[in-house]
Symmetry: C2
């Protein structure tokens, strides 16, 4: 049940725990056979740190789009209602129904899954290793998959130590968005493209990517979904911002692709025909001045789908020649592919620029209790740009 | 207009042509601004061979699915009617209307495009180079993009010399299908997969691929679209044949993927949700026994779309994790990627096994005049398995 520690306790059973907290509240999500999903506040033990672990007092953890699947498993949030926590009647929970049932969710059925990919906080206890001791008292960000909790026992290798003076809240989102944005640029270079397109330009990740591309001289096309986001990005120095809600979207997009030479796109939306439109406009630009070829241009056009804000199917009209690819893109395999040295270089850049290039902003702050309030859950599950949620486990309930 | 030679005439203007034929009938296709496409018999000069060229008397040329775009540009063949050739009133032609108009076809508008990717025949004249002279009197297959003609002047590098005694008709389809089938296996190995799926198992290409995989010990899943094709392939020794028209298709497919470990598919259909179903079943097999992961399995699943028998959009339901890719696959870039040595190895295998592994069969034989008959055009444009057309330019009209 919920009191199984997430990280194994490697030290001998007779070692006394060195953690100042021996219990924590945390958020776990359970899919049941009736097609419901319950996100609940649980109480759990805090595992004493193994030699290569530290205990972090979690000050803040963002709700990223990539957290949503584990939190609510595709449930229809209109159906969300408040219930008691399955583990303890005195703790709150929220329950919603999954319209598509439990197909594909067999692996997590009836298991209270931890939630929260990343967080930030202060190291309050450490294991015996030198690497662990070096983090004592430090502010760290961490990637753990169970960040929505008051305290967490975390492997040192899953922590990123911040420079002195960093606010733990600034450290909270130092993994997913910063490394994803850096990974996009690295992937672009590695695969031989000379410009990049991003479909959610005004998101926290989009703003980071824009700052990276400006600093590194990488041509970037930003797609945004609302007119006011054009201004937001232009105010941040973005040159090519295209509003997908505008009537002139397709021609604006074509112009921006021509100006930048972008032939690789990173798409967080996933559903609908946006990827198809992007590929067809890239192909149009690539074919300009070419002789007609029955197979289209020889320019390879790539769309990586790294999110699924629109859960409807991806529609590819295949009117973009034969030199194209659409595929999934995920941070962890990318980091494994580039190897530890490159990953460390990217992590150091994040720590050094955490309040500038990699600064995040939030539209709401939620206690653990707030996070299972049906009204709040409906709001943060929409993932509206500019309305991102930050969980602050030690703050008083709203 | 249509009498421009396809290959440039490099020898000085005063060199007398060495070709025994100075004129040829040929098929050319013209898209007009009114959204019509006209496939017509034209008369053209036969260019004298440059030093690195030969003149081939074309005995046979297949109509491959990959020829259809150039022939009819996506026209609705129900609208096909007989007309006179635009170049010569005494020659026949067929005209049909393109439902989607001329969008994407700007590059070929009002130009009489040559047709026919490949053919086979006998070398009847050669240029002065040693390589060209070596082909005198030989039976060759060739890849030229203008094969639907009585005579063609072809670069030596675009010819594949057959072993002595080969029937020119057997040489006609020695490039597109054989090298594509070999290319699929090479791609599978190169990208680290251990089994392969093909969506049109009973096609000429599918039968070749099945023979290659049997000979080379490569696990292969064949999808066919009719029950009788299951028997056809089993009769050829295929172990895993799945009928997409059967009610048990999805579970049969899953079983075959499990048995073979196939994680790469080559799809000639393109439209609809077949690629999506394949990816989701590959993911199901890859996840078996794994712990639940919010991002799906780490097994990379690849679908290459190399044809478009179904021209409707590709629908991806994205219920197959994040480790996936769907992309176009084309023979020429593949051959360029593997380089000349590997390409030559594959070509030699084709020549050596042209009547066995790489044998083709046809459901109809058409003269050039037959090919522009509206009734015949409707039939071969359907690309039904077992009803493939072979153009035999020197045969009498049907």
């Amino acid at each position: 049940m919920s009191d199984t520690p997430h990280t194994p306790l490697d030290n001998p059973p007779d070692t006394p725990p060195t953690s100042p907290a021996d219990s924590t509240l945390e958020l776990r999500s359970t899919v049941a056979g009736d097609g419901s999903v319950t996100l609940a506040v649980h109480r759990a033990d805090v595992a004493a740190p193994a030699p290569d672990e530290v205990v972090v007092r979690v000050e803040a953890a963002p709700i990223n789009p990539s957290d949503l699947g584990m939190l609510f498993a595709g449930a229809d949030m209109a159906s969300a209602t408040g219930v008691a926590s399955p583990s303890d009647e005195s703790l709150p929970a929220v329950r919603a129904m999954i319209p598509t049932g439990t197909a594909g969710l067999e692996g997590r059925l009836d298991t209270a899954m931890p939630t929260g990919n990343e967080g930030g906080g202060t190291v309050v206890a450490t294991g015996d290793s030198d690497d662990a001791r070096a983090l004592a008292g430090k502010v760290v960000g961490f990637l753990s998959g169970n960040a929505y909790a008051e305290y967490r026992t975390i492997k040192v290798s899953s922590c990123l130590a911040m420079n002195d003076g960093t606010d733990p809240e600034d450290a909270a989102a130092c993994f997913v968005n910063p490394l994803t944005a850096l990974g996009m640029v690295e992937t672009m270079l590695d695969e031989g493209h000379r410009g990049l397109l991003h479909t959610v330009g005004a998101s926290n990740l989009g703003l980071m990517l824009n700052r990276i591309c400006l600093a590194d001289g990488v041509p970037l096309v930003n797609i945004v979904r609302r007119a006011e986001h054009v201004e937001l990005l232009r105010g941040e120095g973005a040159e090519h911002v295209v509003d997908s809600s505008a009537e002139s979207f397709v021609s604006d997009l074509t112009d921006a692709l021509r100006a930048t030479g972008a032939t690789i796109a990173f798409d967080a939306i996933g559903g609908g025909d946006l990827a198809s439109v992007i590929l067809s406009r890239m192909e149009k630009v690539a074919s300009e001045g070419d002789q007609f070829s029955r197979y289209g241009s020889s320019t390879h056009k790539q769309v990586y789908v790294y999110g699924g804000l629109d859960r409807s199917p991806t529609i590819l009209n295949r009117n973009f020649g034969m030199a194209w690819s659409v595929g999934g893109w995920l941070l962890t395999p990318f980091l494994m592919k580039v190897g530890p040295e490159a990953a460390e270089r990217l992590r150091r850049r994040v720590a050094d620029e955490i309040t500038t290039t990699f600064a995040s902003s939030y539209g709401m702050r939620l206690s653990l209790t707030d996070a299972v309030d049906p009204e709040q859950a409906r709001r943060y599950a929409r993932m509206a740009t500019g309305d991102k949620a930050l969980i602050t486990p030690h703050a008083a309930d709203a």
